[in-house]
Each structure stands twice: as structure tokens, then as C-alpha cells.
């Protein structure tokens, strides 16, 4: 079922000024910054630097990764994709592997 005609794709309720305010079930709301405004958009997967936090009430939201040099994360503290050229170990990103860890260049892991 489509939301109101004026709302963007995947949106159940929107406002002219703030874009989507409630997404369809299972989608994530992401608040894009537009000058001083925050505009809600509905996504099936969150953009770079964010992960999707689901909850039973259905207001799933894109939440920022809290790990340095991380492009995609599983939760706030666990990175699933480090920036180009960095090594990942236990969900963190390293310029060079911590002491005692061997470098696996083919998968860029320690």
C-alpha cells in the first residue's frame, strides 16, 4: 500500500518541511541535514557511517557508528567495513595491526 501521494517512497507520514516523519514498517528513518533543517528519508539500509537500529515498535532508525575510520558497522561499537587501506580487528579499524596480530592483506584483517 502506498503512503499519501505527496510522501516520498517508503514513507507513511510526512510533512512538507521535514520530509518523512514515519516510515513504512521494517524501513529505517534517516535524518538528512538540509541547511538548518532535518529531512526524514526512509531507507532499507543506512548510509555510510550509520547502522540500522531495529525495535519492536517499528520506529527503526539509522544511528551513527561510533568507531573511528569506519564506513559500515553492525552496532555502535563494531565495524563491519573499515575505510580503504585500514585493517579490521574485532570490529575496530587500525592503520597497522595491534602487537601480536598477524596481517591478512587479502581480507585487510588482523
Amino acid at each position: 500500500t502506498e503512503g499519501p501521494p505527496s510522501c516520498p517512497k517508503g514513507c507513511d507520514r510526512c510533512s512538507e518541511y521535514n520530509g518523512c516523519v514515519k516510515c513504512k514498517p521494517k524501513l529505517f528513518i534517516f535524518l538528512e541535514r538540509n541547511d538548518i533543517r532535518q529531512v526524514g528519508v526512509c531507507l532499507a539500509s543506512c548510509p555510510v557511517g550509520y547502522f540500522g537500529m531495529r525495535n519492536p515498535e517499528g520506529n527503526n532508525r539509522c544511528t551513527q557508528c561510533k568507531i573511528d575510520n569506519c564506513e559500515a558497522c553492525f552496532n555502535r561499537n563494531f565495524c563491519t567495513k573499515c575505510k580503504e587501506g585500514l585493517y579490521s580487528h574485532s570490529g575496530r579499524c587500525y592503520v597497522s595491526c595491534p602487537p601480536g596480530q598477524r596481517t591478512a592483506n587479502e581480507t585487510m584483517e588482523c
Binding site: L27, S45, R54, F74, G91
Partner: protein, 516 residues
């Protein structure tokens, strides 16, 4: 990755339904497609087909993309994936199938994805996970199965996943964690099980998780403390808030020395073992509320990096004299709503900024109780039975700006050490009848006093004022000896027609007579 042809956007081989970039990325998302578009470059390494209306993936639909590393099919209406649909994707690392209508894991289709690291199957309708589901996926690191209809942990399918690092089974209908459920997941770092219906966890259910750092059991139906966590030596973050747990046993976390965060609120806790939180040297914050059968203050030896301690709603009546020996880094201490009668000296807690002992049974404050706490800015001693405060008790509290002594049995308060106080509450001390002096409180902005006439020392008695609390723009008046005293912004209860400034022996008949 082979470099693709052409300079600008326009020269890249692309499908009319997509926009492609020079690096081999193709964005075909949100275009109402019902099938995988044709005409894409064989060098495509990233293909986004999310938010379309694709219901099925036929055989070999991606066979001409040997360099593909990321394939996004999220937010379609996929109900069927042909066993040969994903063949040819030898370098695929990321496969996103979330937000579709799959009822089971497409095991056959997944079997040859030997480079796959991240697999998203969240937000489908999956009820079963065949044992062979992830067999071919030797490089799998991250698996999302949350927000599906699973009723049990897919133990069989996880048996061969020694490289798996992050797994979420949250938002399902799992009721029980069986023994050795995750036995071979020796690389697992993160395990999310929140928002299920877990009532019981078998005794060695977490055996084998030797590298697990985060375990999320929040929002389940646990009635007993999850003792199997003792198999998790590397655990750093543990959540079991919003369950039905009534007690935390002695030595509860004795095998989890690296714990930094424990979320345990919203449990009907009544008892907490005194040794439960011992030797947790990485723990920074501990919040325990409402353990109403708890009588003894917890032993916190070895938990030396605690910065915030909240322990309220218990029957604790005394505190260890050496409390600050163990808690040198403490910044906030909230021991409100207990039955504490006497306070030790907090002299060793040199970093402490906020202390609350609201609603206890404290009767006196000694000279050294709060001595040398130069960082302390908030002190709440309201709702006790304090009769005496040593005159030097606040002398060294150079940062104290919020002091609440309301609802006690005080007749007077020290005049020294309050120079930084901007908010002072004294109401509810009926024996405190003396006139307070403003010069001891140069920074005062807001005060509540037992009697209206006491406000006259602060706000100047303009008895015509109507509103219940007196508000005046901040200004200053000059005291007798020429010293400047700041005018208080807010004083309650403020004097008025029926509450004149002069303390007329406190007799209502006399006040009414004066009024007529």
C-alpha cells in the same frame, strides 16, 4: 578490481534503468523495477537494486558479474531465489537481502559464495534456517537474522561458522537458549538476542564464545540471572535490562573482569549479592535501583575505575568507612532513598561533583564528611533528619553551587563555605526561625526558606507583590558596611499582605489583626 572504460559519467556501460559511475558502481534503486536490468557492465563491482519490486531471482541472473563485491536487494518483495540465481558471484563480499518476504534462508543459492563476509537476512519472514544454510560461506563475518519469525536458535546452521564475528538474532520469538548453542563460534565478538521471549538459558549455552565482547539480552522474559555468562572471559558490554530478574547472586560477574557496561535496569530486583560487583576494574558506571531486600552496601574492592554509582531504594543503613579508598575516580554518587543513618568521610573521592543522599535517615554532618571536595557542585541532603551541621562542614567546598537541605530538622546552617552557592533549599525545617543574612550568600540566585519573612533578607520587602514567589531582576543592594549583596532572583515563599516581613510571634490571629 579491473579499471572500467571512459572518463566521465556518460561513457560508462550502463542500463537505462540505472545510473553508473566510472568505478563500476551501478545504482538502480527505487525505480520500480520488477526484474534485474540488463545492459550493465561486466565490470560492475557494486549493484544497488534496493527498493524495487523484484519478487523472484531466476537462475544465473548475475552470472556475468565476476567482479561483483556488493549486491543490494533490500526492500524488494523477494519470495523466491533460484538455487542458481547467485552463481558466478565468486568475489561477492556483501549481500543485502533485508526487508523482503523470504520464509526460509535460501541455502542452495548461497552455497558457492565463498568470499561472502556480510549477509543480511533481517526483516524477512524466516521461520526456518536449514542446517546447511551457511555451509559454503567460509569467510562469513557478519550475519543479520533479526526481525524474523525464528522460534529457536539456529544451532545447526552455525556449527561451521568459526570466522563469524557478529550475529544478531534479535526481534524474533526465541524462548530458550540450548546447551552449546554457539559452541564453535570462537571468533564471535558481538551477539544480539534482545527483544525475544527467552525464559531460560541452559547452563553451558555460551560455552565456546571465548572472544565475545558484547552480549545483549535486553527485553526478554528471563526470571533468573543469566549465570552462563561465566563462560565469557572477554565480555565488555552486557545488557539484560527489561527482564524479570529479581536477584543478582554473589560473585555474579566473577568471570567477567573486563566488563565496562552492565545494563540491568527495569528488572524487579530485590536482592543483590554484596560481592556481585567486585573486581570489575573496567566498570565505569553502576546503576542499581529498587533492590529493596538489599541490606549491605556492595563490596567494591577492585572496581576502582567507577565514575558513577547509583544505588537507591534499598535497606542499606550504613556505608563502609573506606568507601572512597576504592572509588577514587567517583564523579557522581546517588545513594538516595535508602536508610543510611551516618555518613563516612568522602575526603578520598577528590573528583566527586554530585552527591545525593536524599531521603535517608542522616542526623548530622561532621566537619570532615565533605572535606576537601573542591569539585563538588551539587549536594542533596533533603528529606533526612539532620539536626546538626558542623560550622566548617562546607568550608572547603569552593565549587558548591546547588545545596538542598530541605525537609530536615535544622535550626541553623553554617554561614561559612557557601560563597559559591547559587541555589539553596531550606524549606521544611520548621525550627529554623532565625533571619538569614544575604552577605554569606553573595552568589545566591534562588532560595526556598521555611518562613516568608526570611525572604526579606534577600528580595527586599515590597509587600504589594502578588505572585506566590517573588521575582526581581538581578541587581544589587549595598549592605550596612558598604559591601555589595546581590539581589536574589527567586525566593519562596515570598512575603505578602498576610505574611509581613516582621516575624510577629508567628501567631495567625495577630497577623489577621494587623491586616484589618
Amino acid at each position: 578490481r579491473p579499471c572500467t572504460s571512459g572518463q566521465g559519467q556518460s561513457t560508462a556501460v550502463c542500463s537505462p534503468s540505472c545510473s553508473c559511475d566510472e568505478d563500476g558502481g551501478a545504482d538502480c534503486s527505487g525505480r520500480g523495477l520488477t526484474a534485474v536490468p540488463t545492459g550493465l557492465s561486466t565490470f560492475t563491482y557494486y549493484l544497488d537494486l534496493s527498493m524495487n519490486n523484484i519478487t523472484e531471482l531466476p537462475a544465473n541472473v548475475f552470472k556475468s558479474f565476476p567482479y561483483m563485491e556488493e549486491l543490494r536487494l533490500a526492500g524488494n518483495d523477494l519470495t523466491f531465489i533460484h538455487p542458481e540465481a547467485l552463481s558466478g558471484l565468486h568475489q561477492l563480499k556483501v549481500l543485502m537481502l533485508q526487508n523482503n518476504q523470504l520464509k526460509s534462508v535460501p541455502s542452495a543459492a548461497l552455497k558457492n559464495l565463498q568470499s561472502l563476509q556480510s549477509l543480511r537476512l533481517d526483516a524477512n519472514h524466516i521461520t526456518t534456517v536449514p542446517d546447511e544454510s551457511f555451509q559454503g560461506l567460509q569467510q562469513l563475518r557478519h550475519l543479520w537474522l533479526d526481525d524474523n519469525h525464528l522460534t529457536q536458535v539456529p544451532v545447526g546452521s552455525l556449527t561451521h561458522q568459526a570466522n563469524l564475528q557478529a550475529l544478531t538474532l534479535a526481534l524474533n520469538r526465541i524462548t530458550y537458549i540450548p546447551a552449546n548453542a554457539f559452541a564453535n563460534l570462537t571468533s564471535l565478538v558481538v551477539l544480539h538476542l534482545h527483544n525475544n521471549r527467552i525464559r531460560e538459558i541452559a547452563s553451558n549455552s555460551f560455552a565456546g564464545l571465548v572472544n565475545l565482547e558484547t552480549l545483549d539480552l535486553n527485553f526478554n522474559n528471563l526470571m533468573v540471572f543469566p549465570k552462563p555468562i561465566e563462560a565469557l572471559p572477554k565480555l565488555k558490554e552486557l545488557g539484560f535490562h527489561s527482564n524479570g530478574i529479581s536477584s543478582i547472586p554473589e560473585g555474579a560477574f566473577h568471570n567477567n573482569p573486563l566488563l565496562r557496561t552492565i545494563h540491568l535496569y527495569d528488572n524487579p530486583l530485590s536482592f543483590v549479592g554484596t560481592t556481585a560487583f567486585q573486581n570489575l576494574s573496567e566498570l565505569h558506571s553502576l546503576i542499581l535501583r529498587g533492590a529493596n531486600k538489599m541490606r549491605d552496601f556492595p563490596v567494591l574492592t577492585g572496581t576502582k575505575n567507577l565514575e558513577s554509582l547509583t544505588l537507591s531504594g534499598t535497606k542499606i543503613s550504613s556505608l563502609p568507612m573506606d568507601l572512597c579508598e576504592n572509588l577514587r575516580l567517583l564523579r557522581t554518587l546517588d545513594l538516595s532513598y535508602n536508610e543510611i543513618e551516618q555518613l563516612p568521610s568522602f575526603q578520598g573521592c577528590i573528583h566527586i561533583q554530585e552527591i545525593s543522599f536524599q531521603h535517608n535517615k542522616i542526623q548530622q554532618i561532621d566537619r570532615d564528611t565533605f572535606q576537601s571536595l573542591s569539585a563538588l557542585h551539587l549536594l542533596d541532603l533533603s528529606r533526612n533528619q539532620i539536626q546538626v551541621i558542623h560550622r566548617d562542614a562546607f568550608l572547603t567546598l569552593t565549587s558548591l553551587n546547588n545545596l538542598d537541605l530541605s525537609m530536615n530538622s535544622l535550626a541553623t546552617i553554617p554561614s561559612r563555605g557557601l560563597s559559591a552557592v547559587s541555589q539553596l533549599k531550606l524549606s521544611g525545617n520548621p525550627q529554623m526561625k532565625n533571619m538569614l543574612t544575604a552577605k554569606d550568600l553573595p552568589k545566591l540566585m534562588s532560595i526556598s526558606v521555611p518562613y516568608a519573612y526570611q525572604c526579606c533578607a534577600f528580595v527586599g520587602c515590597d509587600s504589594s507583590s502578588k505572585d506566590s514567589s517573588m521575582k526581581k531582576s538581578a541587581g544589587a543592594i549595598v549592605g550596612d558596611d558598604g559591601e555589595q549583596i546581590s539581589m536574589v532572583m527567586h525566593c519562596s515563599p515570598s512575603p505578602g499582605a498576610l505574611k509581613p516581613c516582621e516575624h510577629l510571634l508567628g501567631n495567625w490571629m495577630i497577623r489577621l489583626t494587623v491586616w484589618f
